[in-house]
């Protein structure tokens, strides 16, 4: 649904050049929720704004719903934008218009006749649960409600794609949860493809099917969320299951064991202890529910160096677990 190829954006200011987006490839399939995670300044916002050409990239291709956006200009680009919804961190609502007026704005832009507009506004407000706030002004409603208005407004053009620019970053955790829930629901009910950017790990965890991590204008890893979490050395996994830096003591083996789904329900620690008559020391770990699947990561310590534990590690791998062994530091001479 969204294909971004070799996209670059360079900002020039008084002779200085800053490459905000550096030859990024990104592809989001129809019906998918894709999250781009990164710190502020990583270039993710610029990347997102290039998808509906709020920013014009210096190089690359942007294809949304089969349409090469860079080939469009003027009225045709505006038409294409009407089919790409966007929601914003600070909502971007018109303070001079009521909730209903804000949702009607894109309909006016599209030239929808007045009578039809009122009907459609009602429908959209119903979709986001704001029917009774239609006559309120943005200043009179809460942040979460404002973002709901933003979502209703973004859906006015019946888009196939929704871009979310840190849509929950200005909201408290509970409100964030309810907005994410709404986005998930819209994704499922309307088949809406969502590309979101965020700096919150939690957002990726809650609603993303696939994710990418962006740093210094580049994508450093990407793929389905579950796959990334199972990938040894994954930054996403490290972010979601924070464990302190491993410090294996000489003569022991420290391993991070990642498990998902079925394997999460099998008691691998006790079976390891039983089958190999070994002591398993648990150093830390966490279990998360990712899109209905339990995924967890446990750091265990086994007596004896990695060489002595080959069979044990093979046993874990054989049980469908991902095992990452931390090498012990050189013993002091």
């Amino acid at each position: 649904m969204i294909q971004i190829e070799k996209l670059s954006k360079v900002y020039r200011d008084r002779g200085r050049q800053v490459t905000a987006v550096d030859a990024v490839d990104l592809s989001v399939r129809a019906g998918e929720v894709h999250g781009v995670l990164g710190r502020s300044g990583a270039g993710k916002s610029t990347l997102l704004r290039c998808v509906n050409l709020l920013e014009r990239p210096d190089a690359g291709r942007v294809v949304v719903d089969g349409q090469d956006l860079l080939a469009l200009s003027g009225g045709r680009l505006r038409k294409a934008r009407q089919r790409i919804g966007m929601i914003h961190q600070h909502f971007g609502l018109l303070s001079s218009r009521t909730v209903a007026g804000n949702v009607a704005f894109p309909l006016e832009v599209m030239g929808v006749p007045r009578a039809e507009r009122a009907e459609r506004v009602r429908e959209l407000l119903g979709l986001v649960g704001l029917t009774e706030h239609a006559a309120a002004y943005p200043a009179q409603i809460s942040g979460g409600q404002k973002q709901r208005v933003g979502i209703a407004r973004a859906l006015a053009g019946r888009p196939n794609v929704l871009l979310s620019d840190e849509a929950t970053s200005a909201l408290d955790p509970e409100t964030t949860a309810s907005i994410l829930e709404l986005l998930r629901d819209l994704n499922r009910r309307l088949g809406l493809t969502i590309l979101l950017i965020t700096h919150e790990m939690d957002v990726v965890k809650r609603i993303c099917d696939s994710a990418a991590i962006m740093r210094d204008g580049r994508i450093t890893e990407s793929g389905p969320v579950r796959e990334l979490l199972m990938r040894p050395g994954s930054e996403l996994a490290r972010g979601l299951f924070p464990l302190p830096p491993p410090r294996p003591r000489p003569g022991t083996t420290v391993a991070d064991v990642t498990f998902e789904g079925d394997s999460a329900d099998r008691p691998f620690v006790s079976s390891l202890a039983r089958d190999f008559a070994t002591d398993v020391n648990i150093l830390g770990g966490a279990v998360e529910d990712i899109g209905g699947t339990r995924i967890g990561r446990l750091r265990v310590e086994l007596p004896g160096g990695p060489a002595a534990n080959t069979a044990q590690l093979a046993h874990l791998r054989g049980a469908g677990l991902t095992v990452e062994v931390h090498e012990a530091e050189e013993a002091p001479a």
Binding site: R78, K79, V109
Partner: protein
């Protein structure tokens, strides 16, 4: 002077002042909003970046703001004569008043437009709005309270300027105050004119405040 002698003069003077301020306000509102919008949208990174136009408008506004009104009034006499046909009278005063007030108001409009949250413009662009729609439905609409407040300040300045214009041949309350209050020592006349002007300014301020408040939903 008796009240019967003063009343018709005052009525006539007030009417002329209202005429001068009224018409110049109308033209100033149109010109000031136009220039204010141009200043904002033609700048670098604006909706319609046009550096040369931006510089030209900026220059006109700065020059207009720099010339003291009393000098502008006299300097414009040839222009006024060419456009209006005469340099004396209420109608002739409208031109210099407008020329003086437009740059002043343009800066106030510019300031209010800059206070419109940039996110709303980006959001409107993302929704496929055209530049014209963004200027009309986002920028001007969102800045309406500030635009009205700025116009209030401008109208009050125009009332003051109109008295100056009156003093060099434009008629109105300023002319009355000069001829009767100043040159003939009619203290009563002077005081009544001062009271009338204070009331007029207070009324304009009240109207402006109420309108701005009603338009603001922040």
């Amino acid at each position: 002077m008796t009240w019967d002698e003063m009343a018709p003069l005052l009525r006539q003077g007030t009417l002329e002042t209202l005429q001068m301020t009224g018409w110049s306000t109308l033209f100033t509102a149109l010109g000031g909003i136009l220039l204010g919008v141009l200043l904002v949208i033609t700048e670098r990174g604006g909706l319609l970046p046009l550096a040369p136009l931006n510089k030209a408008v900026g220059l006109v506004v700065n020059v207009g703001r720099a010339v003291p009104f009393i000098i502008l009034l006299m300097a414009l006499i040839p222009v006024t004569t060419a456009v209006v046909g005469t340099s004396i009278g209420t109608r002739a005063a409208i031109l210099p008043l407008t020329v003086a007030a437009i740059p002043f108001y343009a800066r106030l409009v510019e300031t209010s437009l800059r206070e419109v949250e940039p996110g709303t413009v980006a959001a409107a662009l993302a929704l496929g709005a055209s530049r014209r729609e963004i200027v009309g439905k986002v920028l001007l609409r969102e800045a309406r309270p500030g635009i009205v407040a700025g116009l209030t300040v401008t109208v009050i300045a125009l009332i003051g300027y109109s008295a100056m214009a009156g003093a060099i041949g434009g008629g109105g309350l300023g002319d009355l105050a000069k001829r009767y209050g100043y040159q003939r020592f009619e203290t009563e006349m002077m005081m009544i004119i001062v009271v009338l002007l204070v009331l007029l300014v207070a009324l304009v301020q009240l109207l402006g405040d109420v309108t701005a408040r009603r338009l603001s939903h922040r």
